[in-house]
Point group: C2
Chain length 189, copies 2
């Protein structure tokens, strides 16, 4: 079963309160939509910072959420001196602390920095259609020069979803994948 790849670069999700601290009373502005329904890249970029280092130009995704979350790769984590857990989006309890710097102010978070797990966006109907009912994780086959199999790819169900596999830049670069490449779901786990 074929599926398209979306590569997630490091990015940020914010609450309304956090956004106000970082940007003041500005309205959230859409730069361009992403494939997942309702979601978009905003015009806002921030710097993320630890005692060890900082990374500039980290993009905010919209809309605003009810939690703050900073998704980075393990490569970024080494640079920042962090050891964030691999988590599904929204599961930020006990994750790594980080500071975000915006045009209007700075925000230190005691938790919120994660490495996003490999996941596939699906609806319940798609799970039925693709015979994935009752499955929470799948394996994914990647062909090519640095091919292989990714285990533990989470099936992330939402009411609306564009059928797509999201991986971070470490997975993309290790397997030589880029946005829009096609891979294959091969078995459940």
């Amino acid at each position: 079963m074929k599926i398209q790849v979306g590569v997630s670069n490091r990015h940020i999700h914010l609450t309304k309160e956090a956004y106000q601290i970082l940007c003041g009373d500005k309205e959230l502005e859409e730069l361009r939509p992403i494939n997942q329904p309702g979601m978009f890249v905003t015009t806002d970029i921030f710097t993320i910072k630890t005692d060890k280092a900082e990374i500039p130009k980290v993009r905010l995704l919209g809309p605003l959420r009810d939690y703050n979350q900073i998704e980075i790769s393990r490569t970024d984590a080494y640079k920042l001196g962090l050891n964030p857990p691999v988590r599904t989006s929204g599961d930020v309890e006990g994750s790594s602390p980080i500071t975000i710097i915006g045009p209007n102010g700075e925000l230190h978070l005691d938790e919120g920095c994660i490495i996003a797990d490999r996941h596939i966006h699906v609806t319940e109907d798609m799970k039925k259609f693709y015979h994935l009912e009752g499955k929470n994780k799948v394996n994914v086959l990647v062909k090519g020069e640095k091919g292989g199999i990714m285990f533990n790819v989470d099936l992330k169900v939402s009411e609306e979803a564009y059928f797509e596999m999201h991986i971070d830049t470490d997975d993309a670069n290790a397997f030589m994948l880029k946005q829009g490449d096609i891979v294959e779901i091969i078995e459940d786990k």
Copy 2:
């Protein structure tokens, strides 16, 4: 069949002539040995550079060789604006151009920058011992949260070898592996 992982950060191999251009008449100095017999980390670090960006503090490995080779990750390649081929060590023909900056001078290479393939160092005797005779590539199983299988792992035979699998930082970070971790050869390909 278990095997130990060695993670290769970006690094450089140089000819005697190239070393002299970059460092002058200095002798090569060993900082510490690496696991492969006769090889060592030198005290020399260089900056690698393209029109787009530069990366400082790239370590020279010794001893000197009869070719120049700069091994980087795909993450580095994006930063530098390069698209280097995935190659086995020494196979640099037609690979990416890059400039090296040393304390004594600069050296522009028309080719030499590669992404090193995933490989396992073995002797012919080890191949017999581990029942890998006649095989050039194997698959390697990685357990853990971001586990999976790596295809196309090259069996690199030399007269002397420490039995070890070498991967770059992209593979290490994608699969959450670090130096000294144990993985498993599972089948030939």
